[in-house]
């Protein structure tokens, strides 16, 4: 079970991605838990996640989130804008898996 946390300003636009990523995971036969939160909830939610992905419009939060991410020992990165615009669940899911894998 891989737990993927997405964060943006209000958790609205990243929640669009959640469904697409879940579909992509189903196709791959991977068991995942994916959820989207608003930026101020992210540090708390990170504790039960395996990876944090940040919406590109909130990429200026990366430095701040990186501190908490290090404390709880999970990787994080900013979602690539092209995949974000296309709501490309598969690409973002692969990125999450790559980050967890490393």
């Amino acid at each position: 079970m891989k737990r993927i946390l997405l964060a943006c300003s209000a958790g609205m636009s990243t929640s669009l991605l959640v469904t697409k990523m879940e579909e992509a995971a189903k196709e791959l036969g991977e068991e995942v838990e994916i959820w989207a939160v608003a930026q101020d909830k992210a540090p708390e939610e990170m504790k039960r996640a395996d990876v944090l992905l940040i919406g590109p419009q909130m990429r200026f939060m990366k430095k701040k989130f990186a501190v908490t991410a290090e404390e709880v020992g999970i990787p994080l990165d900013v979602i690539d804008p092209v995949s974000y615009g296309r709501i490309d669940g598969k690409a973002v899911l692969n990125k999450a898996f790559d980050l967890i894998g490393n």
Binding site: G55, P56, I87
Partner: protein, 426 residues
């Protein structure tokens, strides 16, 4: 071009980072979030209390009774939102510092009440509700900042009463807050006493006169509004969440303006402000998200021929109706795309100017101050925000038309490019 873009990116990202991560602005934003459910609850009942034609259906007398019955809902929430913001800010300030947040909330609230007049028209033992809303907003924010910082400072200085090991945790915690809270509130009491000897008489009056009034007058004007609109667009062009960044600075002003309108509309007086928080929710964000992209979605359905753009319309359309438009911003793409920079910057500015003057001349009513959530679809939000007036929806419809006309040639150009590259690939 790329190095220029990189340079701008290197300037804008740190600004966004600063504004968004500043401790005070973060506490302010999150503190307002605490108040938001209450504000929306109150707004729902203001809308219900002002349903159109109801007085004609059930009669004037029954209508008054109905309004009086619903009145407390907004009086207890929307009208005293400053109070909840203070609690929220005090809580979040101390939480950030890793202290016991609930004491941050109470110390902020108590400090504010220490500064608040407790006499109205020679009746003592009462607090004017106006002090807890628009008029007290700025004082409340400053007080929450200072009180929670002082509290945490005294806690960190170890100015607490240490209890022996056998004392239960809850008991010793209640004592640990004692000295920091006593010192903090004493300081505010002294401030109150000092100001009472000045011509301002109350701290409320002092802050209102020298800070809040000048700032809100400035913030309600067209120039400041256009600067805010443009900044939002520029940040978004670089793929940064402009609304969030600009809100950090403008929200206290916009909410104060909003509250003035609300207070006036409940007294049946003329509404003082054109630009309010709701002005942005309704006419700037409310037309499909930042950058008013609902018209762009319509264009993607009506005029484009390239596969990629049509696909984007289907992908971004449903969310766009609820003013979530990241798929459009990143998918078109709007970010870093010089081709759409002109309509992206020009359309919101034109719409804001048109709406401002249309409101000023009375074509469309001023906004009553109810808070309609920003995810409410266009036309519905305009209707609700103007006090259930169809002209609010008409204004939004006109605005969508303006955005469409400005964008149209650029969408055609973009479509041609996509079509060309799709043909080349086939």
């Amino acid at each position: 071009m790329n190095t220029f873009m990189d340079k701008l990116e290197n300037i804008l990202v740190p600004i966004a980072e600063r504004l968004n991560n500043n401790r005070y602005l973060t506490a302010l934003r999150n503190g307002f979030m605490v108040a938001l459910p209450l504000i929306i609850f109150g707004s729902i009942f203001v809308v219900l209390a002002n349903l159109p034609f109801l007085d004609r259906v059930i009669g004037e007398e029954a209508y008054q009774a109905y309004r009086n019955a619903l009145g407390p809902a907004s009086a207890a929430t929307l009208s005293i939102m400053g109070l909840f913001a203070i609690i929220g800010i005090g809580y979040k300030m101390v939480e950030q510092r890793g202290g016991e947040a609930i004491y941050g909330a109470v110390v902020a609230l108590a400090s504010f009440l220490v500064l608040t007049p407790q006499v109205v028209d020679n009746t003592s033992g009462v607090v004017p509700t106006s002090a807890l809303s628009a008029e007290g907003m700025f004082l409340g924010i400053f007080t929450a900042f200072i009180a929670s910082e002082l509290y945490q400072l005294f806690v960190n200085k170890n100015l607490t009463i240490k209890m022996p090991a056998g004392v239960p945790g809850a008991v010793s915690r209640s004592f640990s807050a004692l000295i920091p809270i006593t010192l903090t509130l004493t300081i505010f009491l002294v401030i109150r006493i000092i100001v009472s000897f000045t011509p301002f008489e109350t701290v409320q009056n002092l802050i209102y006169t020298i800070i809040q009034e000048p700032l809100t007058v400035l913030g309600s004007g067209l120039p400041a509004t256009l600067i805010a609109v443009l900044l939002i667009q520029v940040f978004w062009f670089f793929g940064l969440h402009g609304q969030i960044i600009v809100n950090s600075v403008f929200d206290p002003i916009w909410y104060a303006l909003n509250d003035q309108n609300l207070a006036a509309s409940q007294l049946g007086e003329e509404l003082p402000n054109i630009v309010t928080k709701q002005f942005f929710n309704t006419y700037v964000v409310g037309l499909g998200g930042s950058g008013m992209t609902f018209a762009v979605v319509i264009a993607l359905f009506l005029v484009v021929r390239s596969k990629q753009l049509r696909e984007l319309g289907k992908l971004g359309g449903p969310a766009g109706a609820f003013n979530v438009n990241e798929p459009i911003i990143f998918g078109l793409p709007i970010i870093m795309n010089p081709l759409v920079l002109i309509p992206w910057l020009v359309a919101p500015v034109v719409v804001t100017i048109v709406t401002y003057f249309a409101t000023a001349v009375g074509f469309v009513p001023r906004l009553t101050g109810v808070i309609v959530p920003w995810t409410t679809p266009a036309l519905i939000s305009g209707y609700l925000a103007t006090g259930n007036n169809i002209m609010g929806a008409v204004m939004q419809l006109i605005n969508i038309g303006i955005v469409f006309v400005i964008w149209f040639p650029f969408i055609r150009l973009l479509d041609k490019q996509y079509l060309q590259s799709e043909l080349n690939n086939d």
